[in-house]
């Protein structure tokens, strides 16, 4: 392993992380819900009474974020290095996997770890491990 000092952005990462935490804190303390994105949007497919509005509002906030950002300054570099086929397969796996696993990077990786949930620690280790393996296979075995 060698560290990529060129792309390492500690300050932006930390500031962005604090904002993510602030958004999660706000949803928890004002709305009483966990900021787990896969659960929030996945729950839209199983509509219950009085349960849809806050989900749509949160997702609308996520959608509006780049629009607000662009009003102030240009969006930072966004590079997608994979083709349509990979995007579709990856999206399907992320959709099915997060629903079976009961969470994603936000619900398990941030909120779950923040409340010391053993379940979320196991989930986070699992998806991190699978993510490392997938990248290793794609970039180093089949490269």
């Amino acid at each position: 392993m060698s560290i990529d000092w060129v792309d390492f952005t500690p300050r932006a990462a930390l500031v962005g992380g604090l904002l993510i935490g602030l958004g999660a804190a706000m949803l928890l303390l004002f709305v009483g819900r966990i900021a787990g994105i896969s659960g929030i949007v996945g729950g839209m497919l199983r509509p219950k009474r009085h349960d849809l509005g806050w989900r749509i509002a949160f997702a609308a906030g996520l959608l509006a974020a780049p629009l607000l950002y662009q009003r102030v300054t240009a969006l930072p570099d966004i590079r997608i290095g994979v083709g349509t086929g990979t995007l579709i397969v990856a999206g399907l796996l992320v959709g099915i996997g997060t629903r079976y696993g009961g969470g994603c990077t936000s619900g398990h990786g941030v909120c779950g770890l923040a409340r010391f949930s053993p379940r979320s620690i196991v989930a986070t280790l699992s998806f991190m491990l699978a993510g490392f393996m997938a990248v290793f296979i794609v970039r180093h075995l089949f490269a």
């Binding site: 560290i3 994105i37 996520l62 966004i78 399907l92 696993g101 379940r119």
Partner: protein
């Protein structure tokens, strides 16, 4: 009021994803590439996010209701089982293939990036498959029962 705060929470969360670099799939893959040139930035994203939300969860444990007076819904205890581990492994493979997880996927749609739209559509399809399988399971159980 719930709707307003939910929107603001999503907005702040989304801005955090953009600022942190989580909304850039290439950067996420740089973090997941342990064997190559490793970009540790995402460790700091997690550290910052967990530090703030840990405070919020500690505060939430002392309360029965939210600041607005609605009920606080914390996850109920559920087991560590095959669903949790299997689902998380499947999610991790998808995450490693494209470098996109659910939050950034929605932000990429907002940014008008076609790849984000394709990924998000597939993600919703995957979630739909889960719902159908769950419904079939319930029906199967009822038929047996």
């Amino acid at each position: 009021m719930n709707i307003v705060f939910s929107f603001l929470a999503g907005l702040i969360f989304g801005l955090g994803l953009i600022v942190s670099g989580m909304a850039n799939p290439a950067k996420v893959l740089g973090f997941l590439d342990l064997a190559g040139q490793w970009d540790p930035s995402l460790m700091l994203v997690m550290a910052g996010a967990i530090a703030v939300s840990a405070g919020a969860f500690a505060a939430a444990k002392l309360r029965k209701r939210t600041i607005l007076g609605s009920s606080l819904l914390l996850p109920t205890r559920s087991p560590i089982d095959r669903r949790l581990v299997g689902g998380s492994l499947v999610f991790g493979i998808g995450w490693g293939l494209a470098g996109i997880c659910p939050g950034p996927a929605i932000v990429l749609v907002g940014a008008g990036i076609p790849a984000g739209l394709i990924f998000t559509a597939a993600m919703f399809a995957g979630m739909g498959v889960f719902e159908l399988l769950e419904k079939a399971k319930v029906r199967g159980a009822q038929a047996i029962g």
